[in-house]
């Protein structure tokens, strides 16, 4: 049972935080105000109209968001130069803190993920923790919510293989839920309800997380040193990318994140945020205060809270616990999508969750800073339709101006310094300011790198890093309009309550398939061509201003396909572009992970081929069957799971009949629910194993004969 913590007054005086918040956001507001004034003046000079009011409002909102981003870069840069003690790792010495007798669970909630990758990541983390000599204080849990029976069986078999390899029976556990109610948050809650009280802390990992042992130990030490801290979020480094897209994202993350998160920590301090993984959480207050309620109303806003992490952090803060971001702790890793479309698929899920925060925003009792985190999250997506609206409104105004025959400039600027500027020059000045505000954090990140010799070398030198920043800027300029269109679609469809169905991505060994890219991007290309044509028709001069936006749309198909290619990523690596510290000096955990993944790739695993191979394995393989049945047996001891077994009819005559049908006619004749019911019934699974091997082939469905033949000829 975790110790009952004592809530003590907050470590940072409120006044100091207030000043920090005031200073930070005032800087953004002042910058926005000044530039908006210039923009309003430009609009005034060209003759005010309703559409110009709309344009100005959109400009203010969009610029404010950009300015906030810029301020993160600026504040972060100076904090990194002058240093600060106002960070969780700098408040008190923690390295000597003992963690003897402190129990921590490391959980990996998974859902139909590639079990090879998940377990190899876990292995790398486990081995790294073992090297610290503190493994005794930690237990690992694979918390499966997989609904694909093949994945389910593979997870079980690989888990068993892993614990045998590592001699970690009783250290690495596996649990699969029968019903994945409330997705990941429900999965974690189920773990906490079953075992939570055994652990003082738990570290939540993602399926692709890898964490260094020392980092995990440090996190526990930090929690022990700061008894009022409820959650510490690390800043995971993106790693293992091979495609060009993945490597660009990874490079941007590694170069810009330290500066940005330093800036974030400046105003957030102990009112930080939670990103859902690679974070340590104090179990007791989390269980007490962070269980998520259902939101009122219907989907997409009502019902289950999808993006649980921000809300959990807000609830933790509401209950007077601190939430910190340990941005200077290295050794926390995750992977990112390898292609544009994959990335958009992930964005779609996140978009829905973030829009839902629109309701949470009004919850009474939340900290103001939590509301800021929520607003920034929401605007991460809502900014796209606003940007699109800005561009369309601009086109409309330009069009009206042209067809009404009005002169461009009607009055002089209010500012005597701008009197001599033409309308185009005035617009260009604003454009340059906008570009500076967008580019400044990147430039400061590069400057930050330049003054840090060891880190500079890890990025392949300043020249290579500069090349990388230029390349990344070009790519993100092309990518941004696509994100704008995607996000707009996600936001609108979510608000309308329309579910956007995406088929599984068709990937070749090298990346996105051309045909699939055409299916996903033809709309973008069409919009780009039509918009470009319209702009050219309107004014060829204006067309050239729009080319950065239009180029991303028009060339979306080749952009999507080519950046998903691994050879291009490798070529860029050879040229020294987009190098990251984990590429130039890979830590042992990642070396181990990569080499093992390579072995799996070369050996191709030992899976049976064809449909329902998981079911075949669970029935035919004497060991996999034994593992599967033993896990079901153990699960029945939990009254909650026992209830679930009853719900699916395990142990009933009906399931036994389904088992008989399965043998006689094969799995194709059973639906998914029926197959899952059979697989969840331990008695039927033992019986099936026996019958599949005892019955003569004539009494089995042809599918079983084929499976037995395949199974018998493989080298297990």
């Amino acid at each position: 049972m975790a110790d009952q913590p004592t809530i003590t007054p907050l470590a940072i005086p409120r006044l100091r935080r207030g000043w920090r918040l005031f200073l930070f956001f005032t800087s953004a507001v002042v910058l926005t105000g000044l530039v908006s004034l210039l923009f309003a003046d430009l609009l005034w000079r060209t003759g005010w109209s309703t559409s110009r009011t709309v344009l100005l409002v959109l400009f203010v909102i969009l610029f404010l968001l950009t300015a906030i981003g810029c301020m993160h870069g600026v504040y972060g840069f100076f904090i990194r130069i002058f240093g600060t003690r106002r960070r969780i790792t700098g408040l008190k010495p923690f390295k000597e803190q003992s963690i003897a007798g402190v129990s921590t669970a490391i959980i990996f909630p998974i859902y139909n993920e590639d079990s090879v990758r998940v377990l190899e990541g876990l292995r790398a983390t486990y081995e790294s923790l073992e090297r610290t000599g503190q493994i005794e204080q930690f237990d690992f849990f694979i918390l499966s919510d997989s609904t694909n029976p093949d994945r389910w069986v593979e997870e079980e078999a690989r888990w068993c293989e892993l614990v045998r390899d590592l001699d970690a029976l009783g250290k690495i556990y596996y649990r699969r839920r029968l019903f994945n109610e409330e997705r990941k948050s429900g999965n974690v809650r189920d773990f906490l309800n079953t075992w939570g009280k055994r652990y003082r802390y738990f570290v939540c990992c993602d399926a692709d997380s890898v964490m260094r042992g020392e980092t995990l130990v440090d996190l526990v030490k930090l929690m022990e040193t700061h008894p009022t801290t409820g959650l510490i979020q690390t800043v995971p480094a993106l790693v293992n990318a091979e495609s060009l897209f993945g490597r660009i994202q990874q490079f941007a993350n590694r170069l810009y994140a330290p500066v940005f998160i330093s800036g974030l920590n400046y105003w957030a301090l102990d009112f930080g945020n939670y990103w859902g993984h690679n974070a340590i959480i104090r179990t007791e207050p989390f269980m007490q205060f962070c269980d998520l309620p259902q939101l009122p109303g219907r989907k997409p806003f009502g019902g289950q809270i999808l993006s649980h992490d921000f809300v959990e952090a807000a609830l933790m803060l509401q209950a007077n616990w601190e939430v910190w971001m340990a941005y200077d702790l290295e050794g926390s890793y995750e992977e990112a999508p390898q292609a544009l479309i994959e990335n958009a698929q992930r964005e779609r899920r996140w978009c829905q969750g973030n829009l839902q925060h629109g309701l949470v925003l009004f919850a009474k009792g939340l900290r103001g800073v939590s509301r800021v985190h929520l607003i920034l999250g929401i605007f991460g997506y809502v900014a796209s339709p606003l940007w699109l609206a800005f561009l369309v409104t601009f086109d409309w105004i330009y069009c009206m101006q042209k067809f009404t025959g009005l002169s461009d400039i009607t009055v002089e600027s209010f500012n005597p310094y701008l009197h001599d500027l033409s309308g185009t020059q005035h617009a260009f000045l604003i454009f340059v300011i906008c570009m500076i505000v967008i580019m400044l954090p990147k430039f400061l990140s590069l400057l930050d790198l330049a003054r840090d010799w060891p880190r500079r070398a890890q990025f392949g030198g300043l020249l290579n890093a500069t090349g990388g920043v230029i390349g990344e800027t070009i790519f993100s300029t092309l990518h941004a309009p696509l994100l704008m269109l995607w996000h707009t679609r996600f936001v609108l469809t979510n608000i309308a309550g329309i579910s956007v169905g995406w088929t599984t991505q068709k990937r070749t060994a090298d990346g996105t398939d051309w045909l699939y890219a055409i299916q996903r991007h033809w709309g973008h290309t069409l919009i780009g061509v039509a918009w470009g044509g319209f702009t050219w028709w309107l004014d060829p001069g204006l067309f050239w201003w729009f080319t950065p936006v239009l180029a991303g749309m028009v060339f979306s198909i080749p952009l999507s396909v080519l950046t998903s290619r691994r050879p291009l990523g490798a070529r860029a690596k050879m040229l020294g572009l987009f190098l990251t510290p984990e590429e130039t000096r890979p830590p042992m955990e990642l070396v181990s992970l990569r080499s093992r993944m390579k072995i799996h790739e070369l050996t191709g695993g030992d899976c049976l081929k064809g449909s329902h191979h998981g079911l075949a394995k669970a029935v035919l393989d004497p060991y996999v069957n034994a593992i599967h049945v033993s896990l079901l047996r153990e699960k029945e001891l939990n009254p909650v799971y026992a209830e679930h077994f009853k719900r699916i009819g395990a142990g009933s005559e009906g399931v036994r009949e389904l088992g008989e049908k399965l043998l006689a006619v094969g799995p194709e004749k059973l639906n998914h629910t029926e197959r899952m019911a059979v697989m969840a019934d331990q008695g039927v699974m033992v019986w099936l194993h026996q019958q599949a091997w005892l019955r003569p082939e004539e009494k089995l469905a042809p599918w079983w004969k084929a499976m037995i033949r395949e199974f018998s000829h493989r080298d297990n």
Binding site: V360, S630, W693
Partner: protein, 211 residues
């Protein structure tokens, strides 16, 4: 135990009343199962299969209605279960299924395929290390349960709660679409009829009035 299989067929071309093809099918079935148990040593595999077939051949003349494969598979299951019972010191009566599962799991955890193939199905006594590995191999997917129940605290969204139920009113979406359409028409009208200038004129009148 030495297998005493009658490998040559009688005059009718049969062994124990079954055709050679039938025994071949039985052989394949038994061999497949032992193969699935990762018995990779060929001589050992052959020996184990023959031992099962020998027992099946003894039974075959008495069970004329059944195929050689069925009898051999049953014998294989019995031999394996009995052996598990001996090694794990558990009575097979009434716990065949549990015993079979536990036995297979013990084989895996004791690494029979890697270290102890020579001991598989061999009558005792067995090496102490093997027995210990088999009997003491435990299998736990999780630590002891320590059950509790998290309870969500309701979020007080204030008037927003009422708003979220707004969409439940009948035809509200249709009305909203009409309202939106009306708004679009209004904007078009304003844009094409100098609306903003009128607004500014009114504002300046208001300012003058204040002055």
């Amino acid at each position: 135990m030495e297998p005493a299989l009658k490998i040559l067929p009688d005059v009718s071309g049969e062994i124990a009343g079954r055709s050679l093809e039938e025994w071949n099918a039985a052989y394949v079935k038994v061999e497949n199962y032992f193969h699935a148990l990762r018995i990779r040593n060929k001589p050992l595999l052959g020996q184990l299969v023959l031992r099962v077939l020998e027992r099946a051949q003894r039974r075959a003349p008495r069970e004329t209605g059944r195929t050689a494969t069925e009898i051999a598979a049953e014998e294989m299951d019995r031999i394996v279960t009995d052996w598990f019972s001996e090694v794990l010191q558990t009575s097979p009566v009434g716990s065949e299924h549990t015993l079979s599962t536990r036995g297979r799991l013990a084989l895996l955890l004791a690494d029979m395929p890697g270290k102890w193939q020579d001991q598989f199905l061999r009558p005792g006594p067995w090496p102490a290390e093997f027995v210990e590995a088999m009997r003491e191999s435990f299998f736990r997917a999780g630590p002891d349960f320590q059950l509790s129940k998290m309870a969500p605290r309701p979020l007080d969204l204030g008037p927003i709660t009422t708003l979220t139920n707004f969409g439940r009113l009948p035809y509200v979406r249709i009305v909203l679409i009409w309202l939106f359409f009306g708004l679009v028409l209004f904007v078009i009208f304003r844009q094409t009829h100098g609306g903003f200038e009128q607004l500014m004129n009114r504002l300046s009148l208001l300012i003058d009035w204040f002055k």
